[in-house]
Every structure is written in C-alpha cells, then in structure tokens.
C-alpha cells in the first residue's frame, strides 16, 4: 500500500501513517479500497490526506494495479465480472471506461458530485470521463503528449515550434536532412494506438465512427483520407528509418532515451519526460546544457493550418457498481480530485491535472514551465475511440499496423478495417 519514492513525501506519509495507526478509527469506519495504477506514490498520499479530511467517515486503502493499461483493465474487468464488492474506487485509463460502463460495472455518478467534479475541467478530459453523453467517472488527472525538441536542431531546420505550430512533414524533413531520429512510439502496445489515433484525429478523421454501436455494427473510419494520411506518415517514418532502428520496440521510455542521445531531434511524449530529464541531470548522467536546449510545443499538425488533436490519456476515478460504500466512494473521489490535490499530484508525480484552474498554482508553474502548453494541448486533445470494444479495436490496429515500416497508405487502412470488423463479429482471432 505505501509506495513512494520522493523522500519528503515519504516522510510525510510515514508520519501520517504512524499517526493513523496510533489512533486507528473505530471498526465500523467503511474501508474503501482504491485500485491505483502504479505511480511514484502520489495516489497513496492523496488517499491518506482524504482519509484525514473525512474525519472518520471512511478510510481509503490503496491496492496497486499492473503497470500497463491493458493489464490494469484485465484485472479490474475480471474482478468486476465476478461482482466483486471489494472494488470501491478505481483509477481507470479512459479508453477502457466505455467497456466497463456499458457492462454496468460502474456505479452511476450522483448528480451533485457530477456537477461538482465537472467544473473547470479541460474539454478532452471531460469527454474521456464520459460514455454516451453522461459522466460515468470522475475526471482526475489528464495526460497529453507534447512535441519536445532540441532547440538547436529546430533552429538548424529553420523551425520554431514554440512560436508557430509545425507539421509532421516538417519534423520528418528536419530529421531526414540532419540524419537524426524522431522519438515516436512504434512498439506493439497501447502506446502505438495512441500515436495512430492522434494522427487520424489530427487529420480530421476518427478510427471508430460509431462508438456506441453493438460489436457487429461498429463502423471504422480508417478507409478515409485521414486514415490514409496517418498511414502515410507512419509508413514513411518506418520505411525511411526516421524513428531509428529501435522504432518497432520503442515505448515512451525508449523514445526518451533516444532523444537524450546524440541522434535525438524531435519527440512526441508525455510530460513525465521533464522530471525524468531533470533527474538524469541530478544523477550526473545528463548535462545541464542539454536540458537548456530542450524546447516544447503543442503536438505537430498533420495538415498545415489545422490544429492538431494531441493524444489524451490520464486517469479517471470510477466507483465499482458492486461496492458496498458507493456514496462514501464518490465523496472520496470528489476529495481526491480537488484542484489543489491535482496540482500537488502534478508536482510530486508529474501527472498533469484535468482541472484547468490547477494549472494556475504557482508551484505547478515553477515546476513545469510548460504547464500552459499542456493545458492548451488538453483543450485540443481527442480521446481514443470510446467504444466498449476498445480492446479489440486497439489490438486489431496494432496487429495490422505493426511494424511501422510495413504500413502502406494504400492497403493498411483497408486491411485493418477488414480485420477489426471480422474480430468484432467473432469471425477472427486476435
């Protein structure tokens, strides 16, 4: 339960924990189990704080889920399918929310709470927390990818992404001309779907056109100009080796490693890279001069002049339908997502708030000089397809679009449409 790495936070929580143990609440205090995705300990800290604030109304205990999003979904879906009453609160990756909501695994959000937690929430995050026009989870933190770049490389290419939005083609040309590599996520995993989706959405299309349709009737939007354009960009980056040799296995972490190396140029990645690079400087494995050369901007555009639709990720809080303490769980969720908590969590764990006011926090502004860019990116961000069959769609995409070098704008969109449709009809295996 107690997991943390930041020393100060650790000491604080240990003290809290010790105090808590000393005056353990009476036995009839409802204990809420909060299944969290692994982080640097921030969620455990928030659990302690809200337990304190509740003054005995409930006590939150955290239980950690696996690292990758699909395994988190596996664990939760299986327990919920078993009508497990021990699941009170869940940290949910947004793409999997429709599946759980559609299956009736999420307790409905009380109106009062819904009003309270949807105030000042970034548009992308609000969408991601909903299913069928209704808020089904409580928006917690919201992630988005930025374009990170080496100022020196951008300058040499005559680009200034911070001033004027750049396009994928410009970024690709810059890498090609200077014989450098682009940091993108080509690994056969969720990260790859994130990239594909952002490209399709930025080109004005949608991977799934009818997200709320039953499995057999789901219509895909890949066989479109947007789908073909996304395929062109990915195929070109793959075939021209612009992503480096590591592309087919490159996840977010590997992209960062590559970016920090000599061949790094531009990279699309989540904001965690900022504290990670700072940490490397503190460890002495990265020069301060490198950090000074790093710039950031909103995600690249597909078509010049059309705003990009950057990836949206993050975590929303769901309440288990079979929980014995639904009301307390929603109170706890409302406590956890208070803007000041989101700000503190951003500072301690590097996960950006879904609340737009949290970005005004002075500490946030100081720790993350790119906070305003993140907020802007979140307003533009588009969620991944919100269908109960997201898992099939995402894995089907990965199956047909991997490795990146094999992607052909003429054939891949159609292949993947056929394949995913067949999988959804139960005619094919994944």
């Amino acid at each position: 339960m107690r997991r943390r790495s930041r020393a100060i936070a650790g000491v604080a929580v240990l003290a809290l924990g010790a105090g808590l143990a000393a005056c353990a609440p009476a036995d009839d205090t409802p204990v809420l189990t909060w299944y969290t995705n692994p982080d640097a300990g921030g969620q455990a800290l928030l659990a302690q704080q809200c337990t304190e604030e509740a003054g005995g109304a409930y006590r939150i205990e955290v239980s950690v889920l696996p690292r990758d999003a699909s395994s988190q979904r596996e664990q939760l879906a299986r327990r919920l399918a078993a009508a497990d009453s021990s699941i009170d609160l869940m940290s949910l990756d947004p793409p999997f929310i429709p599946e759980l909501a559609n299956a009736g695994f999420l307790a409905p959000v009380p109106e009062e709470i819904a009003d309270q937690v949807s105030q000042d929430v970034a548009e992308g995050a609000l969408q991601g927390a909903s299913w069928g026009d209704e808020l089904v989870t409580v928006p917690f933190w919201a992630n988005t990818q930025l374009l990170w770049y080496k100022k020196s490389v951008a300058e040499a290419a005559g680009l200034d992404p911070a001033e004027a939005p750049v396009t994928w083609d410009q970024v690709m040309d810059a890498a090609r001309d200077q014989d450098l590599t682009l940091g993108v996520q080509g690994i056969k995993a969720e990260a790859y779907t994130v990239w594909i989706n952002a490209l399709v959405e930025s080109a004005g299309g949608h991977i799934v056109e009818t997200p709320e349709a039953p499995a057999e009737d789901v219509a895909l939007g890949l066989e479109s100009d947007a789908g073909r354009e996304a395929a062109r960009i990915i195929g070109e980056i793959g075939a021209d080796r612009l992503g480096g040799a590591g592309l087919p296995t490159q996840d977010e972490n590997a992209s960062l490693t590559q970016f920090q190396g000599d061949s790094g140029s531009f990279m699309v990645n989540w904001p965690f890279v900022w504290p990670a690079m700072q940490g490397a400087v503190e460890d002495g494995t990265l020069d301060q001069s490198f950090l000074d050369d790093v710039g950031w901007a909103v995600y690249p555009q597909v078509a010049e002049g059309t705003d990009a639709a950057p990836p949206y990720g993050g975590i929303n809080l769901g309440v288990g339908a079979f929980s014995e303490h639904v009301d307390e769980a929603y109170e706890a969720a409302a406590c956890i997502v208070q803007p000041e908590n989101q700000a503190a969590y951003f500072v301690s764990d590097g996960n950006p708030p879904s609340s737009t006011v949290a970005y005004d926090d002075p500490e946030v502004q100081e720790t993350f000089p790119m906070a305003d860019v993140i907020r802007q990116s979140l307003e533009q961000a588009a969620p991944r397809p919100q269908t109960p069959y997201y898992n099939e769609v995402s894995q089907g995409l990965q199956e047909t679009w991997h490795p990146p070098a094999s992607v052909d704008p003429e054939s891949t969109p159609q292949e993947s449409t056929d394949f995913i449709t067949a999988v959804l009809r139960g005619e094919r295996l994944l």
Binding site: R4, L65, E252, N253, A276
Partner: protein, 282 residues
C-alpha cells in the same frame, strides 16, 4: 581416476570454464544490470559505469517505491511455495509408499495420471479455475494458488518418491519387526532414515517448480494478498508510469535468485540424484 595427464588437465579446465560461462553468464548479466543507474541503462556496456545500490533501495529500502510490493510478493511466494511443497510431499509420500510397497489394482493408473497431469498445459485450465475460484471465494488467496500448484508439484513428487522408495531395502523393516519392534517403531527406526533423503530431495524439486510458476500467479491473484514474485515483476514501475522499471526488476530478479543459488550450492548432489531417478517435469 587419479592422475590426469597435462593435456587432460587443460582440457578439463577448458570444459569447466565453458560450462561455468554457459550456466552463469545470464545470471551475471542481470546482476550487472541491477547495479546500473536508470540513466546508465542505455550505455550499451555489460558493466555499470558507476555501481549503484539505488535499485536495491527501491525494492528493499524503507523508502523504496516498490518495497511493499516486492516484500509482500516475496512473502507470498515463499509461503505459498513452502505450503504447496509440504502438502505435495505428504500426499506424494503416502501415494509413493503405497505404489512402491503395496500390490493393488490402480498403481499404474495413479502413475499414469501423474504423468498426464504433469504434461497438462497450464493455460488450458486457468480460465475455468478462475471462474470456479471467484465463485467459491478462493480467488486472490493463498489457498487459491496452493491448490493449483499441487497440479505442478504432485506428479513429479510421486514419480521421484516412488523411484526412491523402490530402492529402499524394505527387508530391514521386517527384520526390525522380527527383532520385536512394533510396526510403527520398525517404520520409524528402519525406514524413515532411509526415506528421508528422498523426501527432502523431492521437496527441493517441488519447491523449485512452485517458485517458478507464472501463469497461475498472474491469472489467479489481483492484490498483494497473494501475488507471487514472478507476477509482481509486471507491477513494478519506474519513477513514473512510463519509465521502464528495468533496474528494479533486475534487482528483484537477483534477490529471488539468491535462494536458488544457495539451495543448489548446498544440495546439488541430492537434486541431481532426485532428478535423475524420477524426473518427470523440469
């Protein structure tokens, strides 16, 4: 064997070095990785540039981000494997005694069943087990892993022990009885000392197998209440969710490998004799 010629000596030295390299290199490799700083991982060298205990602090230190996760899984792994080993040793000892000593219809059936169970694809039964477990409340409990672990440990235990027991000169028992000892005394004084090494060896092999399990571990648990180490490695995270926990996983891997190496060092003779006599499954 006494005197080796100079040439033979060189040959044996070369062979020994080759075998040691083969057997220990991957272990050395993960040990080296476990001492690397996160930013040192991409250096492309075998040894760390600077040796660091950071990864071990993550999993063992009081402030380590994976400490609770790792230690609870270690506790689970040790407890569950030991209990599964103990139960399968008791059951297998009884069964093997009956098979080796008694003439009864069904001996062959039991041995064949053991064989059948040992070749069973674990993945085939994990989903039905999951459904059953959640219905009867065994999901995510120690018992919920111990029972399926028996399907891994029992068959080999029965085969190994049967082989051992067949070599025991049971006439000793008779002789003791003739000398006036009761049945129990005869069993205890004459047979137990002879059978004990076999049981111990079997226990070691069974423990290794239970300790190695991964599929049951990831499928039948969901919290720190029962999650064993191999499954827990997938739960480690770096400083944030997107950073690879390479260092922490390596350190944990080294920690769980230490007991194996110690057991092997102490009991290689027994393990070899056990495996060569009744091995069914590795």
């Amino acid at each position: 064997m006494g005197a080796l010629s100079g040439k033979q000596k060189v040959a044996w030295a070369a062979i020994t070095i080759a075998v040691l390299l083969y057997a220990l290199f991957p272990v050395a490799s993960i040990i080296a990785t476990s001492f690397k700083l996160p930013s040192d991982l991409s250096s492309g060298t075998f040894l760390p540039t600077t040796w660091s205990w950071t990864n071990y602090e993550e999993i063992l230190g009081p402030d380590g981000s994976a400490q609770e996760l790792f230690l609870s899984s270690l506790r689970n792994s040790i407890g569950i494997s030991l209990i599964a080993t103990a139960i399968s040793c008791v059951l297998a000892t009884l069964a093997a005694y009956a098979i080796a000593r008694l003439d009864f219809p069904g001996r062959k059936l039991i041995l064949t069943t053991a064989l059948g169970v040992s070749i069973f694809p674990v993945i085939s039964i994990v989903t039905p087990l999951f459904n059953l477990w959640r219905n009867i409340g065994l999901y995510d409990t120690w018992a919920g892993l111990i029972i399926p672990y028996l399907s891994l440990t029992l068959p080999i235990s029965i085969w190994t022990l049967t082989a051992f027991f067949r070599q025991i000169p049971w006439e000793l028992e008779q002789a003791a009885q003739v000398d006036g000892a009761t049945t129990w005394q005869a069993f205890r004084k004459a047979i137990v000392p002879l059978a004990a090494p076999g049981v111990f060896t079997t226990a070691l092999i069974a423990f290794f197998i239970a300790w190695n399990d991964f599929v049951y571990g990831i499928s039948l648990t969901s919290t720190e209440a029962a999650r064993p180490v191999p499954a827990a490695l997938a739960f480690f995270s770096g400083a944030s969710q997107f950073e690879d926990p390479t260092g922490a996983i390596s350190a944990a891997a080294v920690v769980v490998t230490i007991p194996v190496v110690v057991l092997v060092l102490l009991f290689q003779r027994q393990i070899v004799s056990g495996l060569t006599q009744g091995a069914v499954k590795g």
